[in-house]
Symmetry: D2
Subunit: 438 residues, 4 copies
């Protein structure tokens, strides 16, 4: 992300109080990351259960490396890393930031220990707070925008930390529970789907003005949309179960060719984390196993791939919205955070509200838009320019935000992106359809 | 492709003479396929040199199977296949048309022999011509649209037959020559690139009205384009060589992450079919090896993947056009066929014309548009609906047409598509860029 | 194979008439190879249906390359190859003989054509016969031993040619028939197994004296054998079917660990070429499908891997013989050729004889001896030394000879060898057991 | 291992004091395992750095599971496991002992924690000691033999624990040190190799009589050996370095075909753990990096595969001994333990002694004998019979014992075995050769 493109203001997001200082925000974000680790045993920090998953320990270190590499190294001439080898170990993919450790081996590295990684975080925090203190008077200081980028980056890794440890726990036949204290909301859901219909016309999409946004959300530009409609709520477990029971996973005509091959090869029969026993379907969650019954059927279906979302939509006689359709309906909906309790890292059913609901805070929503550059897109020069642009192939855009997203990390123009076969994220389905002009 | 969506008229494409009958067109297309096989030895028909490549024999049979399955089986109640097992052997990917042979084993099937496959073609031709004769008076007969689909389908396989045999020959250390008689055009090219600039506005894209089009070219709809410019000619071998010599293949910052990984793993250093010796670069063509020198440097670069096209464009400070930008500039350009001679299956340099050139007949042009459905897209019911829609993931749209495309198969709304790493097609690069509104 | 170790005499094998000349033998062997190709279509010569299988065309060329490389190049100063590139294309694995084509791509090479390969053979034959004529008077000429090695080599490839084309035909859903004229022998087999029991003692194994042998059959040396017994005939299809029906392929305790994994992964349920339909088991042969019923049940089971042979023996309460036990019982048994008719390339039931039968001419017999060097083993210097020694790892010795082995290629000291999972050879099972000393 | 075949006496191995009780031996062995873990951090216990490597935590648990499954479950009717799921998690490969966890996922299991695994050990120890106490008077009790098998099993895992953690540390770019306190012995080695020559004759090999042995060491039987010689000491780093410097890894003629392919594919240039820098070669050890210079050159070369041992021997004009030759020279050599200090887990140079040295306690010695059954071999009935026999394919026998072998685990008839490409064990080279009779 280009420093020249970062327009950081004290209002980091809608509704943020003016009085909040950068140091406070820095400490808040960093503390939230560590709070997410509280339920873990030391052994849990070390492993990677598949190539997409990074060890908790690595997330803790990599987010610190990011501040070290992109902020401290340029703006704190006296800064020294506690260990020169960390630059190699904790660089994720920034080719221009030097050689780096192989991703496939992240889960094989037992040292530095967890304790040493927390010491590394404290070391970086000390230097960062001294730097923030020094530049606090100068909102235009180039480091300010980079610090905000680092915080947004850390918030992305907070979500990954949660989805990754969920996968690690699920991989373990012991099936550990992350936090059993959660008490999910169980609202009775109205049957049937209501739709928001939109007229044809030119819409504006993408970010502009104050507040943080990634480079891939720019430039704000015009798109023409033919008439369409978007479902007011997410697809539920109950609805998805009908698809499963209707032989949805065995009917090739409902699927993309690559999707059907994928589902066959990996023997998919239901979303990730669903399991069938003699007693029927249940679902692994961070609070333990839950039966797919009662109020759980009203919760949004989650942990589906694009392939499954697309097949479900076809089965339902609909399609997925484009990312532009999604953004076109979003402006008047408040950016609400997760409707569950703070520790309840699981999507919840809607509270019975009318109108467009569940845009943010439950599951990311697959769109039918491939992840490509907006007109006028320009990545930042140097290593930081590798943040977003180099991934623009074979990925789909997801919109909204999930139950694992930090509340201050949600916004209508946000473009999340993942490949077609990915299931370990909190991703679900919002339906859409075209409207004949008549 | 839906029969209800096929609007076949006697004017199959712009400029086609009214007097031409369906039977004549059928015979022409079928004869062109067989003419392409004339330079081959019997052994050449059998093998597949990689997963993407099908044996010539298979192309000859599969295109006949298509008529058998989608036309004769429904519209000729007395038709019987010469061998029931052909339905299994020559179905490509139509799940709803029954079980089929594994793609990876197509090149292992020595029987039926080449002679038997030609007999199969003759058998199908007999039945088809009787059918055409029977329905000739009735332009609205549902078989008419299916026959046209079958002919368009065969034209697609004509191009694949050429690209596939080129790959087979190249894989062979003996490096056979397909047809040495070709005399390529060698025009002196003006240095520098000229651009066609377009204003922002609403453009109409997609097919409507008379003439054949695939389902994926529909519905015709509106798109808004920000101001842009498109290069008037294709990128040349000479220009691409500068990229190669500027370490283009070793500079990660020019590439998509997946593209750079791919290039490293497969040890790409230049387009497919380029080879470096002590005497410099040469290029394998269907007419033999050619040195990359003289007029050859003005020919369009060919056999590049999307990854390479994208990296080259970034190196050049440009980008690829979207498929909508491409279609927006195309309407006023005549659909000209290949500028080389009939047997010269190799892209040629422009003839020095001013204005937009080389849209058709040299190389397909990678666009920056992912292959997704148009608004209102609806595939046909049944097996024929698997023709296009089920491939809409992880592919890019290519526009135009190549030197291997049948002239009557070219049109401005045509959407060809291939994955990012594919190189054995005649695919090249047309540059584009955004224009600041100022 | 070392020239110094080759002790070629006019008596090439037991019973060969003295009057037979080297030229006659050369022509006989070469003609037998070509006779095996008579039932093939031109397309059949080209493909390789798996990595172990070479195209017929390649066998024809490679055996000629062998004479070119190891005989003509050293002993005919005027010899020139018809095409320099053949040295690259038709070298199998002799590193010291220069660069060579990749094995995995043998089946992708359409040129030289079949006709050109036969021309190559004729070219080599011309040169060879002139050379043989020149040296005919001199039995000690170093080329004589090399020519014999080349003929033995060609006989090995005759067998591979047969097993390879069988696999090619089976891979093809059309299931072509190689030669339907064969009339198999159907003898009624006595029930029960008879055994030949041998005392403990020192035995001599390995080749010495006149007659050809490969280097791996030397040096003749002493081994001590504890008392043992060997089955007088081969295990039959009927007996093996009992193992199959007794859940033999699903009982891990009967198998080597690697064998059970292999059988599970490849979904083995029976020998290669066995197929189960509603009508019961049948078997693919070079003469077409045959039901596993009647006299076929008395034929030797064939196309089993070492893993299966070993598991069957354990199920039967026996074990496989060591190669030394096999050789210890062989000396008094005549080296009889295949009990079927000449074109009947399929193992036959015994003719009811008493005593040790079926040692030669039906199926190779897996032994429990790993393929390692004999004491005093020394490969020849130079490229020819790569013939045998470099394969001495992870292979088992097979003894005897099969229905596809040329009669003059059989001898008691012959050490054939293949890895544990190979099934496309004509390989079967002879049981053995230890005898308690009491 | 069959209980009926275990002939455990109070004299567990030569020189063991009569007074030693089974309980003492049990406690000693269990304590040695835990002592090996002392230098580790908690994170180190969790991961597996490659498929061959198991986590330390797993070794600790699996060895306890072994006692639970094969001793307590049959001989302590009141025993209950602390967690029923451990039977699934910690079964290595015993199919008849029930379903088990996938080996490839051993390193992904973070719970039970290390602390819980130590609790599991204590739980098993309690039950075992109560059982031992109960049966102590009855040396013929069937549990006694099983307990001894469990202790021998645990000693095998002690060695694996060491070789596995060495690989884990080496995989980590931080290169942790296991124990820096070791002070290796550095003896000046005489130049040149001395040989022990043996006459042809019948030798007895395999175990019989009192003392523990695995089933694969039986039955004791006779072999005939032609005259041979065996090197009196191991091949040194210095000698192996000459092979490396003589382009040993690039000369195909020195290698088995599979060995050369393997070395090329994996880019081997030296033994595992050797690394080349500008300053020359160094070697990773459990005590840190050591330069290949001075006394280190006299240490035995270690961490070579069979392929490398075989190639080195060929380069040296020798061969590897057979396992029978090795056993034939061993009887008169005392079973001496590692010549280094207790914590020095690294092979040491000989102390200058004359005669056969370094048979035990430095490195396992690859032999040229494939791992197959002895005459009369019979595995135990039931799950315990899977201990040895089911691995008898594609492995080579290694003889002796290494610096990581428990002293009471060494004996002349011991048959260790590994595949050709394995390098992470402490395995080295003893040369041998044939002696012409003449």
């Amino acid at each position: 992300m280009s420093t020249s493109e970062l327009h950081l203001s004290r209002e980091l997001h809608a509704g943020a109080p003016n009085a909040r200082t950068l140091a406070e925000r820095y400490l808040d974000v960093r503390a939230r990351t560590e709070a997410l680790c509280e339920p873990l045993e030391r052994e849990d920090f070390v492993v990677s259960s598949m190539l997409d998953v990074s060890p908790t320990k690595w997330h803790l270190a990599h987010t610190s490396w990011f501040f070290e590499t992109f902020v401290l190294s340029s703006h704190d001439s006296g800064y020294q890393s506690p260990d020169q080898r960390y630059a190699f170990l904790f660089n994720s993919y920034y080719v221009q930031a030097g050689e780096r450790h192989c991703r496939a081996q992240r889960g094989l590295v037992t040292r530095p220990t967890v304790e040493q990684v927390f010491e590394y975080r404290a070391w970086v925090d000390d230097a960062m707070l001294r730097l923030i203190d020094r530049i606090a008077e100068d909102a235009a200081h180039p480091a300010v925008a980079l610090i905000e980028l680092g915080l947004q980056h850390e918030q992305q890794h907070q979500e990954l930390l949660v989805t990754d440890i969920k996968h690690v726990f699920w991989t373990n036949p012991m099936r550990p529970v992350y936090d059993a204290r959660a008490t999910p909301i169980r609202a009775a859901l109205e049957a049937g789907m209501r739709w928001k219909t939109m007229d044809a016309g030119i819409y504006h999409v993408g970010h502009e003005g104050a507040g943080f946004a990634f480079d891939n959300e720019r430039a704000r530009h015009r798109v023409f949309l033919e008439p369409f409609r978007v479902a007011e709520r997410l697809v539920t477990n109950g609805e998805y179960l009908q698809f499963v029971n209707d032989a949805g996973y065995r009917r090739a005509e409902l699927w993309l060719a690559a999707g059907f091959s994928c589902a066959q090869e990996r023997r998919w029969e239901a979303p990730l984390y669903w399991e069938r026993s003699r007693d029927g379907w249940s679902m692994f969650t961070l609070a333990g196993e839950e039966a797919l019954a009662g109020g759980v059927l009203d919760e949004p279906v989650c942990h589906v791939s694009y392939y499954e979302a697309d097949a479900f939509a076809r089965w339902a006689g609909c399609r997925l919205p484009t990312e532009f359709e999604w953004e076109a309906v979003a402006p008047n909906v408040p950016v609400a955070s997760h409707s569950g309790s703070a520790r309840h890292l699981h999507p919840a059913a809607p509270k019975g509200a009318r109108g467009l609901t569940q845009l943010y805070g439950e599951v990311w929503q697959w769109t039918g838009s491939a992840y490509v550059a907006y007109p006028g897109y320009a990545p930042a020069p140097g290593a930081i320019g590798e943040y977003n642009g180099k991934w623009m192939t074979d990925q789909w855009v997801l919109r909204g935000a999930s139950c694992a997203t930090a509340p201050s990390h949600m916004r209508p123009t946000y473009r999340n992106f993942f490949p077609s076969d990915v299931r370990w994220q909190f991703a679900g389905i919002r339906l859409a359809g075209s409207v004949s002009i008549a």
